[in-house]
Amino acid sequence: MPHDDDDHPHALLPPDPALRVKALETILVRKGLVDPAALDEIIDTYENRIGPRNGARVVARAWADPEFKAALLADATPLIADLGFYGRQGEHVVVVENTPAQHNMVVCTLCSCYPWPLLGIPPGWYKSDAYRARAVREPRKVLAEFGVTLPPETSVRVWDSTAEVRYLVLPMRPGGTEGMGEDDLAALVTRDSMIGTGLPGVPS
């Protein structure tokens, strides 16, 4: 059933990747199968509207509101939908909490699964062979490449996103943030801290 001959149709397109995309786009538009205005709209959505600031709002609220946090850890998807962050590649969300005893980190070894409505399109390194291959076997060495060193009493739990469940890391709230409002807290939340390859910022 899988077509394993090596004369795939894609070889008929130009080899240069930019030209290959342009050629396929042109063919699909002329065929009436793709609307160029829809392409611009999709790009605008992921360049300007859906990105890690969404996830940061969820984290900041969890830091500020213990009831929200408890509900988020129990069943994140409906709460995230209430905030308007449901959608493609975020249909089933599980939030995992970092503690002094356990650090969480997310990867997709088989492709590039990532919680788009919360974090946007994954960065290049998340989709790289090096991250996909190594995050499960040597997470601490990978973390060191991000400048993160964990104490030996902290275990690492790596989540390999093999299904349609998308994982968001809830980082530990930094010290010195007592009394801060959600907006100021959200400003401390980095994208990498929600993937688990980074830590949130500290108040200046």
């Binding site: 829809a38 859906i50 975020g90 089933h92 088989l110 399109i121 499960v136 469940v165």
Partner: protein, 223 residues
């Protein structure tokens, strides 16, 4: 056996190269076009997400390794369009006459709604859960798709045959091994299963570290 995409645990890839948080979402304009064309073509409804993943995975190993990320997307998309009859090989050789926009095509006004709607994978039907949280399980060995030789599977080779413990049940989800081959959604209980790093690697970095994978019921046996 498996394919080039199944790289978890592999040696030899070198350092991960972090990027600044404010780096552009798309490093090149054509990356953005590749993503948008892929999503817009997907909205035609000619294939499902599992078929789409499998199309990337069955690029020849030589192509899978040498293609950059979005080259894989665009090449697999061309293959899917021909396989589903949306385009012919002649169309790929030369753009033909201009047609009016198909009524199946995604239009700009519908993009926000389609992206917000998503495509949930949970289903009400299917078997009852066989395993409970805390229960010991062992993954299938060999890890191959049992329905289709060389078919799509989400059981990585690095975890095949390993002993783990059920953390939680996510409910019944569409089985990619079936759905990628138009054999039906065949929903099954899906579990988050934790594995000690000691069960997976000869030289774990730390004895208490763990890896968690989402695995379907038919990937697992009681242990």
């Amino acid at each position: 056996m498996t394919r080039a995409h199944d790289m978890g645990g592999r040696f030899g890839d070198g350092a991960v190269r972090p990027e600044p948080e404010d780096a552009p979402v798309f490093a090149e304009d054509w990356h953005a076009r590749a993503l948008a064309v892929t999503l817009a073509a997907g909205a035609l409804g000619l294939w499902n997400i599992d078929m789409s993943r499998h199309a990337r995975e069955r690029l020849s190993p030589k192509d899978y390794v040498r293609f950059s990320y979005y080259e894989k997307w665009i090449s697999a998309l061309a293959d899917l369009l021909v396989e589903t009859g949306a385009l012919t090989e002649d169309d790929l050789r030369e753009a033909g006459p201009e047609n009016t926009l198909s009524e199946k095509a995604l239009t700009a006004d519908k993009v926000a709604r389609v992206l917000a709607k998503g495509g949930p994978a949970d289903r009400k039907g299917g078997p009852a859960p066989r395993f409970a949280p805390g229960q010991a399980v062992r993954t299938r060995l060999p890890a191959d798709n049992v329905l289709v030789s060389g078919g799509h599977s989400r059981l990585p080779r690095y975890v095949a045959g390993a002993l783990g413990y059920v953390l939680r049940c996510h409910g019944n989800h569409v089985l990619p091994d079936s759905n990628a081959h138009r054999l039906g959604e065949a929903p099954e209980p899906l579990y988050a299963v934790r594995f000690s790093a000691r069960a997976l690697w000869a030289h774990p970095e730390h004895p208490d570290d763990e890896v968690v994978l989402d695995l379907w019921q038919s990937y697992l046996e009681p242990a």
